[in-house]
């Protein structure tokens, strides 16, 4: 089974702090994604990566950056956390090739509160 692991289930941070959210997948997937999920807005794509050190902006990249130094690890960085970044953050990965290559597998999520 595909396993996507997010390092924290819950985080509480102060406004202005630099925040790192970590995600690791164990299935040698090419693609990795970061979403945020808010009530009434659904899942929105922040950034994704299709290869090591390659990244693409999603629909709401402002205030975020990402890092992918190794294939299995994809980090989301909040450079200076703000209260409007309080949300559930979900990491996903997909194989990228083959008949099931587009299926995204999700981690359990990190609920971030910025005070």
């Amino acid at each position: 089974d595909v396993k996507v692991t997010q390092s924290s289930r819950y985080l509480v941070k102060r406004t202005g702090e630099k925040v790192f959210l970590e995600c690791v997948q164990d299935m040698d997937h090419e693609n990795m994604f970061w979403y945020r999920q808010d009530p009434g807005l659904g899942l929105r794509l922040i950034y994704f990566s299709y290869d090591v050190k390659m990244k693409e902006k999603g629909d709401i990249p402002e205030g975020y950056s990402v890092s992918r130094e190794k294939k299995e690890r994809f980090s989301l960085i909040l450079e200076s956390a703000s209260t409007n970044q309080t949300s559930m953050y979900l990491c996903a990965s997909s194989l990228g090739t083959g008949p099931s290559g587009d299926i995204q597998y999700f981690g359990a999520g990190t609920r971030l509160s910025v005070l």
Binding site: L43, F48, G96, Y105
Partner: protein
């Protein structure tokens, strides 16, 4: 603009009472349509992928169908353990990203 609309927002059923969830979409060249199940406090869990109009897939009490404008998730004789939020997503042609709807919250009462 690629868009997904799910209805109803919430649905309450009695155990054994069959029903359908709707996912309407507009997308530039559909590469695939995905259904996920999400339990409270957890990440979405993959259910089905549909690629072309007329395609159907089944898993236990769930059956997903696809037309050129919408998809349905049919739930036959649901049980309380089917209670969850069901998410629909489309993948535009040429892209790896998914565009999600806001989901349907299903509650099945015993």
């Amino acid at each position: 603009e690629d868009q997904v609309t799910q209805s109803p927002e919430a649905l309450r059923l009695q155990e054994g009472e069959s029903s359908s969830l709707n996912c309407s979409y507009t997308v530039s060249g559909l590469r695939g349509l995905f259904w996920y199940r999400q339990d409270p406090g957890k990440g979405p869990e993959f259910l089905f992928t549909l690629y072309s109009a007329g395609e159907e897939k089944e898993k236990e009490r769930l059956k997903a169908t696809l037309t050129k404008k919408e998809s349905f998730l049919h739930i036959t004789a649901p049980k309380p353990e089917d209670s969850a939020t069901y998410l629909c997503a489309v993948q535009p042609g040429g892209f790896q990203k998914l565009v999600f709807g806001t989901g349907t919250r299903l509650l099945v009462s015993p």
